[in-house]
């Protein structure tokens, strides 16, 4: 186990350096001049001041030095100042992290639980009308853009039925701190539904296939031969088989979840990290874009690591072999 952790940490550090280097290179390739982006339309600033700003940004150094300088700052918690919000990137991210987390966490949980249950039903009743309906839904949703689902829900629930608010994470005109939990949940509902509806399809299809494979397995036949009815077999012995890979797959889908949240936040003008990333990308807010990029990479890495660990902890075949090796 210690060697496993060591290997994991080295891999983590190397990956993070590579990802930050990639992101840093990309934003530095941009023809958008960071100094102009910082100054904006303010015409009073002269050439000297521009040079001073460029120096402060480290633009007069070589790209490698700049990367080292920047990475050092990042590690020390200095993530720079957002050009759009005129406040430290860390504080922008800090404010927007919680709404995004609530959105993604809720969607992740609901799509997981509902998708898993529906997948169980579809796989157990393979080729029934229920299965056809659910698989059809899942296949259709697989080629449906998240933002379109968001638009449809918005049209139906907010415009037509007036059940849910049309935008934002709390009532317009209030500060985040002034809104009640109920209000926040009310605003969260539709974006979360959007993400869940799309996210559910992968987990339905995956679970369904696992159940079908499970019910065809030799040990399922043997359980039946011992007089265990199929449904009881699935519930008492099969859930472990289906849920372990489902948890792993669902944890490994953090990337799509984050991408989906960008789109959902854009549709609902929801003030989370995704919306900030879009603003930063369009308006050339390099520090903020880099900051969110790092966050998203950490988020995915976290998902993948927990997926890997849960697999090792839950599946005896892997756990025991792992111990035998180390």
């Amino acid at each position: 186990m210690p060697s496993y952790l060591l290997k994991k940490s080295i891999h983590f550090l190397a990956l993070m350096v590579a990802v930050t280097a990639l992101a840093f290179t990309l934003v530095n390739l941009s023809p958008v001049d960071p100094v102009s982006a910082y100054i904006g339309t303010d015409t009073r600033i002269g050439l000297e001041q521009r040079e001073a700003i460029a120096h402060r940004f480290g633009l007069d150094k070589s790209p490698v030095d700049r990367f080292g300088f920047w990475l050092n700052n990042i590690i020390h918690g200095n993530w720079g100042e957002s050009l759009i919000f005129r406040e430290p990137v860390t504080s922008v991210i800090g404010k927007r992290f919680w709404p995004s987390l609530a959105l993604m966490g809720g969607a992740w949980f609901f799509s997981g639980v509902i998708g898993f249950t529906l997948g169980l039903a579809a796989g157990f009743k393979q080729n029934s009308w229920l299965d056809r309906l659910l698989s059809g839904y899942a296949y259709f949703l697989a080629s449906t853009p998240t933002f379109w689902v968001g638009i449809l829900l918005l049209m139906l629930f907010s415009v037509k039925l007036g059940l849910t608010p049309i935008c934002c994470a709390w009532p317009v005109g209030l500060q985040a701190g002034q809104a009640t939990l109920g209000q926040k949940f009310h605003h969260l509902l539709l974006p979360m539904m959007t993400l869940s509806i799309v996210g559910i399809s992968a987990i339905i299809l995956h679970t369904r296939q696992k159940v079908i494979d499970l019910m065809k397995s030799d040990f399922s036949v043997f359980a039946q031969a011992q007089g265990v009815p199929p449904l009881r077999f699935l519930v008492t012995q099969g859930l472990k088989h289906v849920s372990i890979p489902a948890i792993t797959v669902h944890l490994a889908s953090f990337g799509e979840l984050f991408g989906g949240s960008i789109l959902a936040e854009q549709v609902f003008s929801y003030p989370g990290l995704g919306q900030a990333a879009v603003m930063a990308g369009i308006r050339g807010d390099t520090p903020l874009l880099l900051g969110i990029t790092i966050c998203s990479a950490l988020f995915i890495y976290f998902g993948n690591t927990v997926a890997d660990l849960s697999y090792r902890l839950l599946d005896p075949r892997i756990k025991l072999e792992g111990v035998a090796i180390s």
Binding site: A18, S30, P31, S143, G255, G281, L289
Partner: protein
């Protein structure tokens, strides 16, 4: 007492098994025909026809400037398709190069390729798209490059695995013992076997690329006011939500989803044709 086996050979082309594929192709051909034959004058503003609901004359209705939404959608879809197809092809070629290179140029090359794939996959796809789009300065070109340069990791993984399997195939081993160059082995032995995998991978990339193009243009990257991609139409529809013009958002989106689905079906059909034994 009889035992009949009427199942026809799965490897041959039969209309029954590939009827979805044929329908999908017909759908796409119809779309292209629409693009060619629809009168582009409907794209101009016409203030006498503002916000008309769908009708026979304007099946997708008109927008707030009186423009025909069907024509706008078809033109927009063509932009999305063009960008998506080009980008997917570039991505697939990158994947092929990396996959083969990883397999034939030894351990270090393979490590480098797997590492590249790992790095490429450690950012959310959409974040990578935004970064690349930002890097090349946005615009339609930005969207194209972003989609083209971000879709190779998963296909690289598939092709690398396939190439690694080929590497230990007896005829490749013998070829190597005969002193054939890496280049010879790559072009004569690897490519012919990887072509079906490559084609399937390419076709299955299309729907992804098109969807990502739509997502990026929806988010406002690559604004092109003259020939708006379908994502932009959908973004516009958000601004007209309260007017009750449901057709602005619903119908273009529906056509987009159907088009993407058709590419999906074509990909799955071709996959079934090449590898009938797989799933």
């Amino acid at each position: 007492m009889t035992c009949c086996r009427t199942g026809e050979s799965r490897t041959g082309f039969s209309f029954y098994y590939f009827r979805h594929l044929i329908l999908a192709l017909l759908f796409l051909l119809g779309l292209i025909a629409l693009r060619l034959f629809l009168d582009s004058s409907g794209l101009g503003t016409n203030l006498t026809l503002m916000e008309e609901a769908p009708s026979w004359r304007h099946p997708f209705g008109t927008d707030s400037l009186g423009r025909d939404m069907l024509i706008r959608t078809v033109y927009g879809l063509m932009v999305s398709l063009k960008v998506g197809l080009m980008a997917a092809t570039i991505s697939a070629l990158i994947a092929l190069t990396l996959g083969v290179a990883g397999a034939i140029f030894g351990r270090w090359a393979d490590l480098a390729v797997t590492w590249l794939v790992d790095v490429g996959m450690s950012l959310p796809h959409l974040v990578l798209l935004i970064l690349i789009s930002f890097a090349v300065g946005g615009g339609e070109k930005g969207v194209m490059l972003a989609v083209a340069l971000s879709h190779w990791p998963s296909l690289t993984r598939v092709l690398r695995a396939e190439a690694l399997q080929l590497k230990s195939a007896p005829y490749v081993v013998i070829s190597k013992k005969f002193g054939r160059s890496s280049w010879y082995i790559a072009t004569r032995h690897f490519l012919p076997h990887l072509v079906p995998q490559f084609l399937i991978g390419l076709l299955l990339l299309f729907p992804h690329a098109i969807l990502h193009e739509a997502a990026l243009s929806f988010l406002g990257f690559g604004l092109n006011p003259h020939t708006p991609a379908v994502g932009i139409l959908l973004a516009e529809s958000l601004q007209h939500l309260s007017t009750g013009c449901w057709w602005l958002g619903v119908l273009p989106g529906l056509l987009l989803v159907m088009t993407v689905k058709m590419f999906d079906v074509i990909g799955a059909g071709v996959k079934k044709y090449f590898t009938p034994y797989k799933d």
